[in-house]
Amino acid sequence: MKNEYLPHEARIESIQKESFDTNTYRVVFVDKKIRDVFHYHQGQFAEISLPGVGEAPISITSSPTKTGYLEFTIRTVGRLTKEIFSLKVGDLLYIRGPYGNSFPYEDLKERNIYFIAGGIGLPPLRSLINMIMENRSYFGHIKILYGAKTPNELCFKKELETWKKETNTEVLLTVDRPAEGWNDHVGVVTKLWGKTKIKPDNSIAIVCGPPIMIKFAVLELMRSGFKASEIIMTLERYMKCGIGKCGHCNIGEKFVCVDGPVFRYDEILRFPTKENVI
């Protein structure tokens, strides 16, 4: 029987600074055998740990088409992520996974896609966005609406510029508190409605961010005519095991770690009504 809880050593190959409290780590499994069998899909996550410190679920932000390494974008929030923040290139992380379901890549083909993200909510979408950009012609128009508290806190600043240059692709950025030299929008992400056309025609919206942002983004999307089944989101939930055992992420009969983290909004509407899922 496989020990699902057994983590594998992975060496940090590079660290990309995203903001004052967020880094993207590129890691490579030390054991070549693990490197060869660790196949993941867009939107899945892994359990990352440091021995003696703790373990947490983190989205895989690299595109599954890029093999040999994994990327994780991690904001320092708790005990483990603070410790990870102090690591250097060459240090080890301990990783198990991949876990959870994934974004329905095939179903998105031929469709227009709206990505709506807030703060650290863009990293879970990056895997899918880059996969789509690699096969750009299969998809309709793409709009990425991304908001953060301050310009510094926007992740993937370089990539946002690259995505902007893709054909038929629009990237709209907004911040709550602008800094000097900020020429983009100001306000919460829903302020971007009105700055660009957001129409449900043959479209899918994919949302990720803090619960309050998701709530208002969904509200605006529904107001714009999107059906609940045309809104996809990836949920954040306190998790321990990642494999449907520890119980923490259980909502109704679903486990966010196994049945999610990606859910359509119509599925979420069938969750126990009183829970503040988003």
Binding site: M1, E4, P51, V53, V77, R237, G247, N250, I251
Partner: protein, 351 residues
């Protein structure tokens, strides 16, 4: 079903012999009078003195056998200078004197740990085990046992390797599995083939036992109601206001299996461990950001009842409640699942 008998005098002999072949867990009186499943010492005066503490009468073990396979706290890994060592336990076990409701709960938990990803820690501990169930002649906790309503006792039809039926000076032994039969054959001299009148004897004992369970609730109706969309917000709010969220009901519940995972750093060696957790604790769903999706007393209460009576039933076709009554008997403020079942089926306030 095949039947044997064993005299009560022979039980201690049987246990003293089997302790040579495997770990033997049996209900024993602990200091303070609680009865708990404890490991029988292998030999010597410790074994002799332990044998006298064995209690197979209609007494509750405070906790079911769940902590034999799913300990309150266990080490999953140790980390030592870059070396990761998993701590997986798999010794053969005899669990002797398990109540029928707890046997049913164990099967429920087995299925849970097998589903989707297999949990190696639980399944290894439980892999090589023999379960000797003992039926109840009367409710061990008359004010909280409701097994006849939940359909899990005071005797069960399957799920055990052996089931003991107390017939006065002897136990009639029902053989429920091949392993159970092999076990009896290994200690053949202590057992006898049952006489021809065994069935009528058993049926008589079982029906008297069932009649003695006084607390009855309409469990089946409750499961049907919970399948629907009825909103029990008033119940959840009221019970939530009364609850002190101590988690006692969760810890003693034979089907509750939530756990936390945490690390402990040492100078030389660090460990990753898991311990029981409880969905009624405020921090159970709190995220690192501080956001807590289940942040109200009524939501915590709803989760507990809906998990047991709605979602478990939806997934497994059996409820996550086996009617053992421990939640009620352990609750400092008089909340219990049987009372909730009674409330929603009679529309009368019970808590």
């Amino acid at each position: 079903m095949k039947y044997n008998t064993i005299t009560k005098n022979n039980i201690n002999k049987l246990l003293k012999l089997s302790v040579k072949d495997c770990e033997v867990y049996v209900p024993m009186e602990a200091e303070g009078g609680d009865v708990l499943f404890q490991l029988l010492p292998k030999s010597g005066p410790e074994l002799e003195s332990s044998v006298h503490k064995i209690n197979l009468r209609d007494e509750w073990t405070v906790i079911s056998l769940k902590d034999i396979f799913f300990p309150q706290i266990e080490t999953m890994f140790s980390f030592n200078h870059g070396k990761i060592t998993p701590h997986v336990e798999s010794s053969p076990k005899l669990i002797f004197g398990v109540k029928p409701c707890d046997t049913k709960a164990m099967i429920f938990v087995d299925e849970f740990f097998k589903r989707n990803f297999e949990d190696i820690y639980y399944l290894s501990r439980a892999k090589d085990r023999l379960i000797v169930t003992i039926g109840c002649l009367s409710a061990p906790r008359p004010s909280s046992c409701f097994c006849t309503s939940a359909g899990t006792g005071p005797f069960i039809e399957n799920g055990f390797d052996l089931q003991l039926v107390d017939a006065g000076n002897e136990y009639i032994v029902e053989i429920g599995s091949y392993q159970g039969e092999v076990f009896i054959d290994s200690y053949r001299s202590l057992f006898k083939e049952a006489g021809v009148d065994v069935l009528s004897k058993i049926n008589n004992i079982k029906s008297n036992a069932a009649e003695s369970v006084g607390l009855k609730v309409d469990f089946k109706k409750a499961l049907e109601i919970m399948e629907g969309d009825t909103d029990f917000e008033e119940n959840y709010s009221r019970i939530g206001e009364r609850c002190i969220f101590c988690g006692a009901c969760i810890y003693v519940c034979p089907t509750c299996t939530c756990f936390g995972i945490f690390d402990d750093k040492g100078d030389d060696q660090s460990v990753r461990m898991r311990n029981w957790d409880a969905c009624v604790f405020e921090g159970y769903t709190r995220e690192a950001s501080g956001h807590n999706p289940r942040n109200e007393k009524s939501l915590l209460t709803a989760r507990r009842y809906e998990h047991k009576l709605k979602y478990d039933y939806k997934i497994n076709d059996v409820s996550g409640c086996v009617g053992c009554g421990r939640c009620l008997s352990s609750c400092p403020v008089g909340i219990g699942l049987s009372k909730f079942v009674d409330e929603i089926t009679t529309n009368e306030r019970r808590m």
